[in-house]
């Protein structure tokens, strides 16, 4: 059995990384949206 602290770290660290990554995505998307014509959704994910 591993410690509770280790298990908590396994939950918190990836979640924090994911949040940080989404903030970076948002910043990139906001920057791109200033430079593209209306109606262009080329940075949208999940489009199959």
């Amino acid at each position: 059995m591993r410690s509770t602290t280790y298990a908590l770290a396994c939950l918190i660290l990836p979640a924090l990384w994911g949040l940080a990554a989404s903030w970076v995505y948002d910043a990139i998307a906001a920057r791109r949206s200033r430079h593209r014509p209306p109606g262009d959704d080329s940075t949208d994910m999940y489009h199959i």
């Binding site: 059995m1 396994c10 990836p14 994911g18 949040l19 080329s42 940075t43 994910m45 199959i48």
Partner: protein, 300 residues
Amino acid sequence: MTAIPNILLHPVWWIALAAAGLVVGIIGGMFGVGGNFLLIPVLNIVFGVPADVAVGTSLCQIIGTGVAALRRHRRLKQGEIKIDWIMLMGGILGAHAGASLLFELSNRGTTDVLGHATPTAKLVLSVLYVSILSLVAFWMIRDARMRPTGAPLTPGPLTRIRLPPFTWLPHANRRISILVIAYLGLLLGFLSGLVGMGGGVVLMPILIYGVGVRLRMAAGTGILTLVVSAMAGTWAHARMGHVDLRIAMMLLIGSTIGASAGATLTSRMDGQRLRGLFGCLVLVTALAVLWDLMRSLKVV
């Protein structure tokens, strides 16, 4: 704790892990899925990580990619959030049950198949993997051949189950039994805890073909359940010693960069072609897992 190969502790392999995460992230970003269906075989077959640790570690990295995807979909208002809330409790219970079953299978040691001793956990996971992925690949390839991009979806068989109480899905414009969704959450959580997948690769085909939800909406549905069940599964696996946080973080660094690149890569590709490509990729993964199983059984 099941030991990971010592070689993976070398910094060169950490870079290789981040590169693997990057490739999985690109593929996940291209097709709008998490990519765990690909990550677990890669960890197990390419890097030699034991099957149970591969499942626990990839669940841990799902938390990161899932949190980023959840935030994005909530902002874009994509997905039937009602389905998420109904599936949530089943997802948590199922993830814990799946992780506990995997722990039991790991403790069973080996099973004799065709005169060869094979780790029981690997045997069960491989059979489940090949079955689930083959089914998903069949659906996706068939759909890509028969339904052009933008063609209307018919109400799926799950909406025809008359089991009250019912709920209305506003985006899909369909009525569905709450019990059906709750059991779906239990199944997804169970698969998540046991085999480490259940998000994009399993839930999306069920939502699209079983309920009749459009793909863009299906992609945003279930992420909350996925993240919460990944957390429940990670917690259980971490306590059992099946999570290597260093590997998970290296994978996460690569996959978060790759997911953004993958989405940009396919922004102009035809949806029908993408579905076919995705089906082929899932099929190749299923065949790779089957080949690895047969190799360990000395059949090939």
